[in-house]
Amino acid sequence: MRDGETKRDIRDTDLDRPALEAALARIWNTPEGLWGALATVDHKIIGRRYVITAFVFLALGGVLAMLMRLQLAQPEARVLGPDRYNQIFTMHGSNMMFLFAVPVMEAVGVYLVPLMVGTRNIAFPRLNAFSYWIFLAGGALLWISFVLDMGPDVGWFAYVPLSGPQYGFGKRADIWAQMITFTELSALAVSVEIVVTILKQRAPGMSLDKIPLFVWSMLVTSFVVIMAMPAIMIASSTLILDRLVGTHLFNPAEGGDVLLWQHLFWFFGHPEVYIIFLPAVGMVSTMTATFARRPVFGDLAMVMALIATGILAFGLWVHHMFVTGLPRLGESFFTASSMAIAIPAGVQIFCWLATLWDGKPIFKTPLLFVIGFIVTFVIGGLTGVMVASVPFDTQVHDTYFVVAHFHYVLIGGAVFPLLGAIYYWFPKITGRMMSESLGRSAFWLIFIGFNMTFFPMHILGLQGMPRRIYTYQPDMPWHDLNLFVSVSSLILVAGFLLFFFDAIRSARRGLPAGDNPWDAPTLEWATSSPPPSFNFSYIPVVKAANPLWEQPDVLAVAGGLRINSRELIISTVASAEPEAREASPRNSIWPFVAALATTVMLISSIFTPWAVVWGSIPIVVALIGWFWPKGTPEDES
């Protein structure tokens, strides 16, 4: 049967180039219109959607930040009341962490990883579509609730007992918890896709030592997600159980424990920081190599540092609980491990600096963001080492020092690299360049605005200003600095607005980019900009770590795939020897339907536990529709 089929099939090698591209487009393109938009499984369309949605959440979170800064600009301001303020800082933190920072990194991975490893689609493309809809539903749940004055008000880590049944009235804490379930579900799904894409769908010849650093970073990140996110899913589900059906996990009166919540949360929450940071590290390495015009110095050390960070990330969570009165010995251990993680970070920074030093750096906008990142992240790392020591942390815990610290790490360590990465990959995604001059201005506004906004917060913290207060009295010595911070945040916002303006304008009117405007070495630049639906006309064959530098004019490729069905190459884990041809699923509406059914079930289960029972029936139906063979060539082969 298989041999007979081989003869009937049309192979890519049977056609000339235009005919081949037409045939591939026929089989891979997403049709126009609403149906196509809902049913698509193209990782580029989904990745782009994911990125844009996450940036919308960034903007919304930014609006909340500005409201907070408006309120805090002067003592006893009346812009926001205490209840609204509680909702807003909770929304800001939860939105930034769960709806912006983690998803945006996953999203860039969804878009880039398949291109960088030279395959035609991500593994489990329908799961990928599903994960986007689930993410969107989780975000909508949070924001719609907020608009209805039902936004969570318990802080982004929702400590019990405040969030428990005793104090957390109404449904606010449940909405926080279920938003977590949505976003973690989608992040876990994406992580499995990315791991399998990287392990099994690499272009022939891309052995472990030839995997681009960004891809490595996504691999490590995905494993961290897989090991860390179950903790928060257990935490959020048990919180809902405590609140809805009267379990007592977090109730000390009945043998439960409030610190258990903190353990579960931070067992996830600390690795979360690295889930955001490691992809950023991968972006930085990629951009540094391209603009220094040489491969990254010490790339083996880089990979080792990534893996070490990923592992160490799980040994730090207790440093968020230093003031809860844990045993002294335990605290010393977590101080030591928190300081130890500075070592792989130091190795990476050394390697980037060495790369720049030894290369011939070209200071385009992405590289500016890289340098802004290095400076900011070093400051954030230093204050991190400071708060890792228990006596110091006891002083500044829950003050603006900590707010300053984590914004240096989060914005410096992740948002700067991300903005650089957008400038860097925008031409690939849209086929057009962003403006170099606007980019420079945006960078300087953001960099200067950021430091002016957040550096003084260190001082405010040392002066004793607590975080999460909605106002302060005039006799406190804080108002000058607070006013300064609030005014400075306008500069920061101006920078972001300029960035958004540039991105939107350039998407329509930017200069045409060509395939490889930066003369970069990795495979995503070997195809056109934007890439066709099938990514590559032929699957590349890789012989070097920087294929487009080592062989600038010709791309070695593999022929022999069928073109009357979606097909790609499966290769071995270590050496990427081709092992099999594999069908890749077609577009399908079922992931969307399954996501709708899941949404109904999850939201209803905030109100009644029986929703888990009846709500599961439509999910099962949708999943059967999803997996039942439809007789397409992909199903039958």
């Binding site: 392990l199 007592h248 353990h263 791309l555 593999a558 997996f627 063979p629």
Partner: protein
């Protein structure tokens, strides 16, 4: 960019099995996620035990009988499960069909006994934290049995249609069998926690 064809993949087999298939790896990935979840739930159990004055708290030790019966059924199911996987490997559709029916029954039986297990705990989920965590452990594992049973039922139905005769679907049968082994293996530490730790 100019392309030069340097490799020919036309002779590669269509759809690899085992570690050459993406679904196999995907199943492994989800198993890793769920194993982490189970490990954490067990850690919560041990944590609550470590701070409790008595364990089980305000409740008798749970009855051994239903839980042990479930354990024995699950262990016994491993052999037919292995055989189904072997038959799927050899593409023996007739035996796979029978095997999947048997495995469906072997998924339903422990679920029925499981209902009695909840009674045998002799504590309610809302009695105290001890009751909550044993119900959660048992509930978590029950959803796993249900999930795999649903998958087995759908695959069994599929095997009786024209879509059954297909290596890809038979690979799904093998992955499903692997997942069932996982359901069995994860039960053992939970069984130990719920029934034996209170007896130590």
């Amino acid at each position: 960019m100019k392309e030069r064809i340097v490799a020919d993949v036309s002779r590669l087999s269509l759809h690899g099995t085992g570690s050459a298939s993406t679904t196999w790896w995907g199943t492994l990935g989800f198993m890793l996620i769920e194993a982490t979840g189970f490990a954490l739930a067990i850690a919560v159990y041990l944590y609550l035990m470590s701070i409790a004055a008595t364990w089980p708290t305000d409740a008798p030790t749970p009855d051994l009988l239903p839980g042990t019966l479930v354990t024995l059924t699950l262990i016994a199911s491993v052999l037919p499960n292995y055989l189904v996987s072997q038959w799927a490997e050899r593409e023996d559709l007739r035996k796979v069909r029978i095997g999947l029916v048997v495995m469906s029954i072997l998924g339903i039986v422990p679920l029925i006994i499981r209902a009695f297990e909840f009674y045998a705990l002799k504590v309610n989920w809302d009695t105290n934290a001890y009751g909550s965590i044993v119900w959660i452990l048992l509930g978590l594992h029950t959803t796993h049995i249900i999930t795999d049973l649903a998958d087995t039922l759908v695959l069994a139905a599929l095997m009786y249609t024209r879509h059954g005769r297909n290596r890809r679907r038979l690979g799904d049968v093998q992955d499903n069998a692997m997942y069932w082994n996982f359901v069995v293996v994860t039960w053992l530490p939970i069984y130990g926690c719920i029934y034996w730790i209170p007896r130590l």
